[in-house]
């Protein structure tokens, strides 16, 4: 089956097109570096597989997501390419296009964002592009799906896409070198087009160099490059060979753009200009960001999410729980089955499902931020603070995604250029409070700080960020010896997210939570319930004599100095490592609470306001969950760093909770 790869600059809409051409859904957003992995989907008309690659500027990769794309082109052999270019940034985009055409595979050029371009007074003539480049050019608006029909029908018969015969003349010295290198390449090897390989080698593309090194001795090849370079220097054409190749391409692109583009009516992006004047204002920018974050939490907990959760709680604890009870009685179920379903499953899983509205609203707002273009501005605003801490502002995009879930957030760190910055971001990610920890705060805040719920929860998130910044400084100083970091971020034009995209991306994020409710939280709840139902003395024992109490009692003494040295709190921590949501379901089971109100009463008896803060802090910091540990291991490729991330967070959680509780007591709080 033929596979077709989507290639293009970052943030040009490749994934949007991928989502319309295939029936799958992948993560989209408005910043450079959303897609960090190769994604595969099958085309809607069954014409083959479509491969979505991370955005690249050139075939010379700088960051890890880019090397995924560059390696794909070298190591695998797609049947055809779809090169997506941003019509409003044509000059820059075509630099990659030329290299893709030299690659020699059948290519389609998708001229995307023609709507954005024409709003900015830029008209691009697809026929001229088609004539010059010799490949089919299709105007597109990938976000709305306009033009994707034509792409599909062209791909229907992908064998009919004509082969590319694009050839740029690089001038005599370079052409001689190309011919010489081509001759020396092993015949019949699994390499792409030989002229392309020669050119990439001359441009010092590390991926190509590495592949060639594994197949032959590259010294004579590099010698040819050196000779060519000194010839260019002596003729005063260019200082280096890569520079020469680039300038030949740029000259061609300039004349092509002059022929194909009408920019006489070019005007700045008005909306972006006006919003940036406010949102990145040197004094107003940061306060505005903090204000938006406050609104985010206010909406999630007070204005919309909280009331919805209460309604849902009423249903689960009322009709659903009662209904299940009646049904089981009618079926003549044993008291064991009755207790398992009502106390274990409905109590445990239902107790977590209650928080679905809050979590979905949080995801909806995060999706809005992602799609609007504001995320890149946040990086800009935070960079000076982050720089002082030894990291760069770009780490803030993964951090905000981490508020949803740490796993995709750690993946998102791939788009950070420097390995050290990437490692720091990955290690600090568990301190970003993910949505799984949210039910714990929501529960405790409702009990102890009913009038200031949003503020109480927000302060947990802020605390996480503050510790991330402090540790960032420490790690950067002692582990990475203050290696300097760099910062560059593209600021995409703002746009109003489409309702369809928003709902879709909220659902994709929230889906995982629901899936977990049906799997790990369900399994956890059943096991916890069984441990609470059974004890050394048999089945249906008093809770204090259960296995769960024995087990929690082992940990409890350690937690005594932190203010929650009871077996109930202790027994939530270990299952919490599997998935943080299980903490709240465990509490529901332990306290036998019929509904959230009942649980709140129980908690108020066991915890004090001070020990509740200490507990929330501990849950915020104590350990990355199992899924996060897995992805840290995968991304750092090191068990040492994986264990380090678990170890430091445990130590940090213990120290901070200790200081909070003991310090609070000294100040006379309770």
């Amino acid at each position: 089956m033929s596979s077709i790869a989507l290639v293009g600059n970052p943030n040009t809409g490749k994934t949007s097109l991928f989502n319309t051409l295939t029936s799958s859904y992948e993560y989209v957003g408005n910043w450079a570096g959303v897609t960090v992995e190769k994604k595969i989907g099958s085309l809607k008309n069954g014409a083959g597989m479509l491969i979505d690659l991370p955005g690249i500027y050139s075939l010379h990769p700088l960051s890890r997501d880019e090397s995924v794309a560059a390696r794909y082109l070298v190591e695998e052999s797609p049947g055809a390419l779809i090169n997506i270019v941003d019509a409003s940034q044509l000059e820059r985009n075509l630099l990659l296009t030329l290299q893709l055409l030299e690659y020699g595979k059948p290519t389609l050029l998708g001229l995307n964002m023609v709507d954005v371009a024409s709003a900015r007074g830029i008209q691009v003539n697809p026929e001229v592009l088609q004539t010059w480049l010799g490949v089919p050019v299709l105007p597109l608006v990938a976000r709305t799906g306009k033009g994707s029909g034509q792409v599909l029908s062209l791909l229907k018969n992908s064998a009919a896409i004509p082969a590319v015969h694009f050839r740029l003349d690089y001038g005599e010295p370079a052409e001689q070198a190309i011919a010489a290198i081509e001759k020396m390449l092993p015949a019949g090897a699994s390499l792409p087009d030989s002229r392309w390989v020669a050119l990439q080698l001359m441009e010092q593309n590390p991926v190509i160099l590495q592949i060639l090194k594994s197949q032959l001795d590259v010294t004579p090849l590099l010698a040819i490059c050196d000779v060519c370079q000194s010839e260019l220097q002596s003729k005063k054409l260019a200082l280096t060979l890569p520079q020469w190749i680039r300038s030949v391409r740029m000259d061609y692109i300039r004349s092509l753009c002059q022929a194909a583009m009408d920019t006489t009516a070019r005007k700045p992006h008005n909306l972006t200009e006006r919003l940036d004047a406010l949102l990145t204002h040197r004094f107003m920018g940061l306060p505005l960001f903090i204000f938006f974050m406050y609104v985010l939490f206010k909406t999630t907990f007070d204005w919309v999410g909280g009331p919805l959760s209460d309604i849902l709680d009423g249903w689960i604890s009322g009709p659903i729980s009662d209904g299940a009870g009646t049904l089981l009685q009618y079926l003549g179920a044993s008291s064991f089955a009755h207790a398992l379903v009502v106390d274990g499953i409905i109590g445990g899983v239902g107790g977590v499902l209650v928080f679905v509205p809050q979590i979905f609203i949080l995801f909806l707002i995060i999706s809005f931020l992602e799609d609007s273009g504001y995320m890149a501005r946040v990086c800009l605003l935070m960079d000076s603070t982050m720089e002082r801490m030894g990291l760069n502002g770009k780490a803030f995009i993964p951090f905000i995604i981490g508020f949803g879930c740490n796993v995709p957030a750690i993946m998102a760190a791939r788009s950070i250029e420097q390995p050290k910055d990437r490692m720091l971001t990955t290690l600090l990610m568990p301190l970003m409070s993910c949505s799984a920890r949210l039910p714990v705060y929501a529960l405790f805040a409702a009990v102890f700080f009913p009038s200031r719920q949003a503020a109480a929860v927000l302060s947990m998130y802020v605390l996480g960020i503050v510790f991330a910044l402090i540790l960032c400084k420490v790690f950067s100083k002692f582990l990475f010896k203050n290696e300097s970091s760099i910062f560059i971020i593209e600021l995409p034009p703002y746009r109003l997210p489409q309702i369809k995209t928003l709902l879709r991306s909220t659902w994709e994020k929230g889906k995982g939570f629901l899936r977990k409710a049906g799997t790990i939280i369900l399994a956890g709840s059943v096991i916890i319930w069984l441990m609470s139902y059974a004890g050394p003395g048999g089945l249906d024992v008093a809770m204090d004599d259960s296995f769960l109490a024995k087990f929690g009692g082992l940990i409890a003494p350690l937690l005594q100095p932190l203010g929650f040295g009871n077996w109930q709190a202790g027994s939530t921590l270990v299952p919490g490592f599997l998935a943080k949501e299980v903490i709240v379901s465990t509490m529901n089971i332990i306290y036998h609470a019929p509904d959230t109100a009942g649980l709140e009463t129980q908690i108020a008896q066991v915890f004090t306001p001070l020990s509740s803060i200490s507990f929330m802090v501990f849950i915020l910091l104590y350990i990355p969950c199992l899924a996060t540990v897995g992805v840290i291991r995968k991304e750092t490729a090191s068990w040492k760093w994986t264990f380090f991330s678990m170890g430091y967070s445990l130590v940090l959680a213990y120290i901070v909770s200790f200081v909070v509780f003991q310090g609070g007591r000294l100040l006379g709080w309770s």
Partner: protein
């Protein structure tokens, strides 16, 4: 029109200059800028300066991006 080149940071926000030279810059950043089409001879606009001596926003060929002040000072421009 013999104007001596000056640092990009000396431009007034909103005004443009053509790049005279880029020297002593971190090579990774240099490449990334090249990816965005920032070379000698290209016209660049200083859009604004960020908070707390933070990054500066620049525009080149209609693309907005931000880099740190320290790095931006490595770019020398000719104002015409």
């Amino acid at each position: 029109m013999a104007v001596s080149p000056c640092s990009l940071l000396r431009l007034h926000p909103g005004s443009t200059g053509s790049i005279h030279s880029i020297e002593g810059m971190n090579p990774i950043l240099r490449r990334r800028l090249a990816d965005l089409g920032v070379f000698e001879g290209v016209v660049i606009r200083l859009k604004g300066k960020g908070p707390f001596l933070g990054p500066v926003t620049l525009e080149c060929n209609g693309q907005l991006f931000a880099i740190r002040r320290k790095e931006a000072s490595r770019i020398e421009v000719n104002v015409s």
